[in-house]
Symmetry: C2
Subunit: 585 residues, 2 copies
């Protein structure tokens, strides 16, 4: 391709709102253009990289035996109501009414649609297992689109779905997908760590996220120093070194609760400052409601003031997938923001207590009155026997630095970008939508499912976040929009002739080549080539040509090597193949 | 691919609502599944064919120098208001409000979006010409989705846009696109006739449609017997053999207008039956309003009772792109449904008269009163001089059988499916959106544009409509989901071994092969193979294998040929290449 015939709008400055590196380089190199909050045009250069990423994904998916199909973006809202996700997604769903007033949604993911498809056509265990996938635009009306392509409202996703008649078959496919994902990220040149993930309120049995470590990421990875444990923050467990029953809780000598005013204090930090105590000496009590149908019992989750309640863990302990923070208006008798554990003495709420907070011999707690807290709270003395009997002690907080893995190795915390997710769904969707197969005894059984997502745009973002330098992008050869850029110092005379010929020969050889034929100063050409990050650059200068040589430079490496003009195309081609082979090792 | 591992839900019956052949075969062969009116899942087999069609389109687009990109489906409604198409499209547009109440639309096409893109980045004539294209899902809320994939609400389109600084450059690209289209349709194995098309109310200077002749099509092609003329019905001109001025109109001896009651007669046919006269002796007068701003002048279009007004022709004559049928409520003094040409005597309306209706010496016309017509209408005697002076005579009706081409050759009419459209847009969008470039004199000029669309799904429909037989689909090799199906009579023993080996060897050779490993009777396997239309079938039977032979049969041909098992894969591969080569001739 000749540079002058394509559209590569490079820019010297990044827009002011581009805060993370990938966003800045993406705009400066002319990969994308924003047209609305979280909605982007893919320009030719960005789109070429995306197509290469998608081609790698397709190859690896096909190798697992997965079948590609394509489901529509417009989906009947009815299906989503049947599975309960219409409500769960809430304002994240884009809703469309058609001219007959039928409500449709724009698919943010396709579990319902693909389950309906399989329900329509799969009737027998002989048709299972079946793996289907697609690469498709998805829609999600994010509250705060941000960070370039990291959180957008229209984006590409590879979503695969598998269907099984046994847990063993699901596990086999889950493993195959897991390994395909490892190959995909490696081939795309981005590092990815597989971490245990929470299956979440949508049900399911096992799940791993693939996270690319980088500071700009929005996900937190928790890993043990011994390398044996890796999970996301939502999932990360910890070893417990604290009391596990109320009876074994350390307790200070009993003292009466002392009411202390804390007017206007909205956070633990503020309460602590007013009362001259650090948050780790305080009890944070959050109110949840469990179950789906009224009466929904109250759950009081208690953690130390400096800790965060982990809703996934709480959900497991409470034994209810339907667990949600209480809305202030509905928490009759519970003064949200000022609840203390002793509220369970007068309200039939279940206390769930984290071991770390149970280890406090005495603590500050909410006063169960607006603008009041209490001092001297003591687990052994200030809970009535009925409340204590209902109480459960369990790990319900996020892991923090200082914690150890369940096997006892210190945990480390780092940020990253979630690139993909594999997920054992079980029968959550097949049961809700009635997708069954007949087993060998002609009995109807709910189909067992898995789902597997990758964000190709996230792979691109991860490559930019981790591989750029001060001059711009440094694409892995496997996903570079062009593999080679030919830069004649002056596009005229002998240089033009050699450049044209090299371009033609590389095209014939199947090398993706860009020829910088612009009437620009050499400095501009070099700067742009570095900015858009083409892995190999062939410079054709007067001096070199006179000596029968061209300069070959790998982006990011220091010096160029000189190559003879004879067989130049073959030498460049060989170098491209070598780089590609390195990436797939 | 092994048949048992993919999803090919064949059916013995087509659904009752599938009226055209392509729709029936598409469902019976398991290519697609409908999930809502005009919204379809692409199943693996259909999607494979679509991907092959899209690959051919991409190759030919790339060969013209066009750059692929990808624009979003969610578009700011504001752009569409700026070009006036928000109103023009009306209920065809899917509208979405996001959580901030910003109005977006789902793109039915992308002229606005791509023009805004080019406006942002192209500033100089040096950056032109530029050709951009994408293959993408489009959305159109059709009033009556029907005919399978022929009229749907979510569909794929290849849309290309070109940008120029001169009419010559536009013409050059227009020609290049035209020829690329000819190659695309030929390579996909569908016949396509290029016909002149109307540029339509969205402006533009020249346009061709590519139409695949077939009875199920919704478009009408008009061609001259001498082969020199081809246009769509909207565009088709005709030679005129009738009076071209009021002064030269034949006229019967004058007679007074005679009022005749026609209660409840809503059509020309009904009026004719009541009055005992054929529609060709009657005057049909339709009321239009011209211009954009009030006062919008009335235009009365008169054609013979058996003819149809052609709005595009009328628009040219009236010299207004803003011409629309009058709404009854607004046509003050004009009794819509009962208007006669003599209404122009009392209302300052312009008469536009087709020569054929002017040739009637006396005729029945609307009576300008509800439920009344008049007899004895006579062009020379019943128009006042002022009305006659404002009148224009011109070809304003659709061509009909019996007409001749402008060069005098008889016109023939046939139906077809519109596969693609090339279009000289001119500056319609660049002016509305302010997309300019600086010319060599540093003067700002509106960018000159062209646009070029192809419906990949329409190509698939056309292939099915024109290439199926009584047993099912007969894919062109170039777009067949699989090129070869291996059918072992029994998938066991020696047949299984040969089948597996042939499958593996063909995969290695890059042949798309399907192995029917199902535990089914041979009759079912043969029927399904014919139904899904794989071009080449290799049958492995006991007798043949014993003789060291396999059967190779081309779908649609009578007898098979026997091939030796030695080098079987090479022989099959060669046959595939031969078929492919034939298609690209």
């Amino acid at each position: 391709m000749y540079w002058s015939r394509t559209l590569i709008p490079t820019a010297r400055q990044a827009p002011a709102d581009a805060q993370i590196a990938s966003h800045q380089w993406m705009i400066r190199a002319g990969l994308v253009r924003q047209i609305a909050a979280g909605v982007y045009d893919w320009l030719p250069l960005g789109w070429r990289a995306m197509q290469k990423i998608c081609a790698i994904i397709r190859q690896e998916m096909d190798a697992t035996g997965a079948q590609e199909l394509h489901l529509p973006a417009l989906l009947p809202a009815q299906w989503w109501k049947q599975t309960g996700r219409y409500a769960d997604y809430g304002p994240l769903l884009f809703k469309v009414k058609d001219r007959r007033d039928t409500e449709m949604i724009l698919g943010p993911t396709h579990e319902e649609c693909v389950t309906e498809l399989v329900k329509a056509y799969v009737g027998s265990h002989k048709q299972l297992p079946l793996i289907l996938y697609q690469i498709q635009g998805k829609f999600r009306d994010e509250a705060r689109p941000r960070n370039g392509l990291l959180r957008v409202r229209e984006f590409f996703m590879k979503d695969a779905y598998s269907f099984h008649s046994s847990a063993e078959s699901l596990h086999e496919t889950y493993q195959a997908m897991y390994h395909a994902y490892v190959r995909i990220f490696r081939r795309c040149g981005v590092s990815a760590v597989a971490v245990e993930a929470e299956s979440g309120p949508i049900g399911g049995e096992a799940s791993h996220e693939f996270i690319c470590p980088c500071a700009a990421g929005e996900d937190v990875m928790v890993r043990s120093e011994d390398g044996a444990y890796a999970a996301n923050l939502e999932r990360a467990g910890r070893a417990i070194f604290a009391p596990l029953t109320l009876a074994t809780a350390a307790a200070a000598p009993p003292a009466p609760l002392q009411r202390v005013p804390t007017p206007g204090a909205a956070t633990m930090q503020q309460v602590g400052q007013m009362l001259g105590a650090p948050p780790q000496h305080m009890i944070k009590t959050l109110v949840f409601v469990a179950g789906k149908d009224a009466p929904r019992p109250w759950v009081l989750a208690c953690v130390r003031g400096d800790h965060e309640v982990n809703e996934a863990k709480l959900r497991h302990v409470a034994g209810s997938v339907e667990l949600a923070p209480a809305e202030p208006a509905r928490a009759a008798g519970l003064i949200i923001g000022f609840v203390g554990p002793h509220a369970a003495n007068t309200i039939p709420a279940q206390l769930v207590i984290d071991p770390d907070v149970l280890a406090l011999p005495t603590a500050i707690a909410g006063g169960n009155e607006v603008d009041w807290h209490v001092k001297n709270f003591n687990w052994r003395h200030h809970l009535h026997p009925a409340a204590a009997q209902r109480a459960v002690v369990a790990d319900i907080r996020n892991a923090v630095p200082g914690d150890r893995s369940p096997a006892g190795s210190p945990l480390t915390f780092s940020k990253g970008i979630e690139l993909g997710h594999v997920f054992k769904l079980g029968t959550r969707y097949s049961q809700a939508l009635g997708a069954t197969y007949l087993d060998e005894n002609q009995q109807a059984q709910a189909i067992i499912m898995g789902c597997y997502g990758i964000g190709p745009g996230r792979i691109l973002v991860a490559a930019l976040e981790t591989l750029c330098d001060a001059d711009g992008i440094n694409w892995p050869m496997s996903i570079a929009p062009y593999q080679v850029v030919i830069t004649p110092i002056q596009y005229e005379g002998r240089a033009r002739q050699v450049a044209d010929q090299l371009h033609a020969e590389l095209v014939t050889r199947g090398v993706d080549v860009l020829l910088d034929d612009r009437d620009q100063r050499p400095g501009v050409k070099f700067k742009d080539a570095d900015l858009i990050g083409i892995p190999l650059r062939v410079v054709l200068g007067e001096k070199g040509l006179a000596a029968g040589q061209a300069e070959l430079k790998r982006r990011g490496e220091k010096g160029p090597v000189m190559l003879p003009l004879a067989n130049l195309a073959a030498a460049v081609d060989e170098r491209v193949r070598k780089c590609l082979a390195e990436a797939t090792l």
